[in-house]
Symmetry: C2
Subunit: 481 residues, 2 copies
């Protein structure tokens, strides 16, 4: 019965994994579409045909529904929703965050989730709003902790109960919450109450919150980012270490006439084209879609198709070792996402133990690429090399035969000795024509190397364009063109 998680591939702090809950198994990163039993705009059986392996529904809605409560208790959730994949249930915490309170206890909701046959249960945690004062956050966190402890005591260690990590925007609280949840033995850990951050584009803080929670959680925990959401941020969140997402956006946005893309959301009414490869967009003109009596359903299907496709793309990128490329691509779609991406780069030192050592390739995508850990680690690694008494650094200029040791300058890495020419990252890096940020970064790498080889006589051969910068940065060396 217990929830288990197996990591298969890693990239940055992202993972491709297998999540098992009882008999059910899904690939991660995964997106669980939110299903409201009262409004099944896309029936779960149709979702399955679109590649959906798991869904999430709300046990609180079931428990309060005259129509569905007894059906679910008698026939079980999977039969009522006609979905044989993984079904996770939320407890009513979401309703609590919207309405302030719910008339159900922690034990009641968990018993109900068990009785309707849910595969992953959520205790009645308190979703503390990000802007709550610290004292109140601590108070609410303690209630959540007590309820998780109670859940373990009543339902046992093997019950498929998730352990939510709260703490608002206080990093120390998120970290300690993560640590305590892992210590209690929870393996499936939602990071909660981040929707207000995402709604107001506070991606920089979102990155901080996830990294803090991850620092506390055990490395083997499966991390669910509750209420996320929009495909433009899956890559970033996965890079921070999130494994599962859930989303009602496909349906809510469709209700509003909004069309999801991986780089943002458009209003159907303002659109002149359907810029997507999904079956809906390739078989309708934009005018047909606007006028269709089934507009809402068709939009929901489009929205879910692009969302599922993006989850596949995130998994593929992790397996390939190209997740940084995807994060870079997605995060430039909005300046606030770019802030989140840059924050991730700033904090790589804290999470790079999760990263893999070798990847498919290194593509330079702009000055942000200079801050990738592959570059900073290369700088440190190369500085351990012992140079001959005399070397020529070949930075684009001529290479006279009188130099016995010639080392290529490859920005943003710095020195690329012949022996490393076929290795990741510098040897497998594809770069555009040099830019200033890249050259300055490479020079930082060179300086580290020369510091550890203070007796080496260095000459630098470069082009007119870069001569000034080398001369300025290395006043003691001969620089020629």
């Amino acid at each position: 019965m217990a929830v288990t998680f197996e990591v298969i591939h890693k990239d940055i702090a992202g993972r491709v994994g297998k999540l098992k809950a009882g008999e059910k198994q899904i690939k991660t990163p995964a997106l669980l579409p939110v299903v409201n039993p009262h409004l099944q705009i896309i029936p779960p059986a149709d979702m399955k045909k679109m590649g959906v392996e798991g869904i999430i529904t709300n046990a609180y809605i079931f428990s309060k529904s005259e129509e569905f409560r007894n059906q679910a208790l008698e026939r079980g959730l999977h039969d009522v929703l006609n979905f044989d994949g993984l079904i996770m249930t939320d407890s009513g915490s979401f309703q609590m965050s919207v309405y302030g309170s719910v008339d159900i206890t922690n034990e009641e909701t968990l018993s109900f989730q068990r009785d309707i046959g849910s595969d992953i249960w959520v205790p009645l945690d308190i979703p503390t709003h990000p802007d709550t004062p610290r004292e109140e956050v601590i108070e609410q966190m303690e209630i959540t902790m007590a309820r998780m402890k109670e859940a373990k005591e009543i339902f046992g260690d093997d019950a498929p109960i998730s352990g939510p990590v709260q703490g608002a925007v206080f990093e120390d609280l998120r970290e300690s919450a993560g640590r305590r949840v892992s210590e209690m033995g929870f393996t499936y850990c939602p990071v909660g109450a981040v929707v207000p951050l995402m709604e107001s584009y506070r991606y920089r803080e979102l990155v901080d919150v996830i990294i803090a929670a991850k620092k506390g959680l055990s490395a083997g925990a499966c991390v669910h980012l509750f209420g996320a959401g929009h495909p433009s941020m899956f890559a970033l969140a996965a890079a921070c270490g999130c494994d599962v997402f859930d989303s009602a956006a496909y349906a809510l946005y469709a209700k509003d006439g909004r069309y999801i893309t991986t780089s943002g959301t458009l209003k159907l009414d303002e659109m002149s084209e359907l810029p997507c490869a999904c079956p809906i967009c390739r078989s309708h003109t934009v005018e047909e879609l606007k006028k269709s009596p089934e507009k809402q359903k068709l939009l929901a299907m489009h929205n879910l198709s692009v969302t599922m496709a993006e989850i596949s793309r995130v998994r593929a990128a992790i397996q390939d070792g190209t997740l940084f490329e995807l994060v870079d691509e997605r995060c430039r779609a909005h300046p606030k996402l770019l802030d989140g991406y840059r924050r991730l780069l700033e904090r790589m030192g804290e999470i790079e133990l999760h990263d893999r050592a070798s990847k498919r390739r290194f593509f330079y995508r702009g000055s942000e690429s200079c801050k990738r850990p592959e570059v900073t680690n290369y700088h440190k690694m190369v500085s351990r090399i012992t140079l001959s008494p005399e070397v020529l650094i070949s930075a684009g200029g001529p290479v006279p035969s009188r130099f016995k040791e010639v080392i290529e300058f490859k920005p943003p890495f710095g020195a690329l000795p012949y022996e490393l020419a076929e290795t990741f990252p510098a040897g497998q890096a594809e770069i555009p024509s040099w830019d200033e940020d890249m050259v300055n970064c490479g020079i930082r790498g060179l300086k580290l190397l020369f510091e550890t080889n203070p007796d080496t006589k260095v000459t630098i051969s470069t082009t007119e364009k870069w001569k000034d910068i080398f001369t300025r940065e290395f006043p003691g060396f001969e620089v020629f063109t």
Copy 2:
């Protein structure tokens, strides 16, 4: 019968337009899939259901085919291919570029294209390889020009004949070829023989070649980039002013087991996921696709779906005024595309007369955004403002009430006076937390403003993080935090 082209929306040098050839009309930018009558992997009628409005086929293949020659002459091309949209025909020039020569004359191929009912004909131009020596390029260009002149003389001014622009990588030759083609009255103008540039990722030169041809061509010419190709470069080519693309890639790549994405091509055998929203990818697992007896056809359908979706996206971006965002997104997919994008930014001064003055928004996407013409033009425009004798530049620091004129510093633009706060671009720019490139660019804008207001006393209020840079750049002004 004549080919006409109407421009409806503009962005950078890209256009959304209507191309009419006889009775047929298509939206541009358009992608004409290449159809080989012998190998109709996706029947043209099925393409139409995917949103294809026009196709291109090869008149030379028809003319040499025992099976198709007479059919086409008797029933017409549209009936034989079962496609009632626009059909353009190539002349045999492609075969010439591959095999060196063809046994057909210019007049013969044009007559044949007319007789089979093609909507746009191509004369027998000589596709000169980019690396051909200059003398030979000129020689071949003169032959092409003579054939176009001959075509006009024999078939008249109203015949739907296209006027190819050759000239290899010599910009002056491409420009003069463009000018002569427009002077002869051709309105549909393919830029030819660029496939070798694209095959070897020479996107920087490709940008140069297109810009050179555009400089010669009349602004009203519809520009077809012959043999382009891959959806990763449509946005860049459209931004340079290309209106029509043609592609056999969907089919050729499928034959090779290659899977097209907007950020590159993957080998199906190495894939673990199908990261796409198209009907094929959402209804198959990667294993099912690998093992399907219809693999080639299914892959071709996927490839064509993403290609057509990208064309829609380019059109939508032009209409929205967000083409720079799309170019930025696509061109970071490969460092050599990034080179092409940076080249476009370098050369914007030459083509910005085609750009629109106001756009939906300005999203900062990295330091490349500092080089957008909206920024450099804003610098020039703002320097025309007359300042009061004393102003405070508010660059993130406190704003004491003693200053009567306070002007916001908004990088990368520079000064954002209150009166411009709601206008494009600076007022409608969304930027992330400031970075150094952005602040330096904004300071360049400030300097231009202060140069035209030499008697104004300037004080700058900023934060600790940026104090040093303002102090260094404005040694004569008071800078406080």
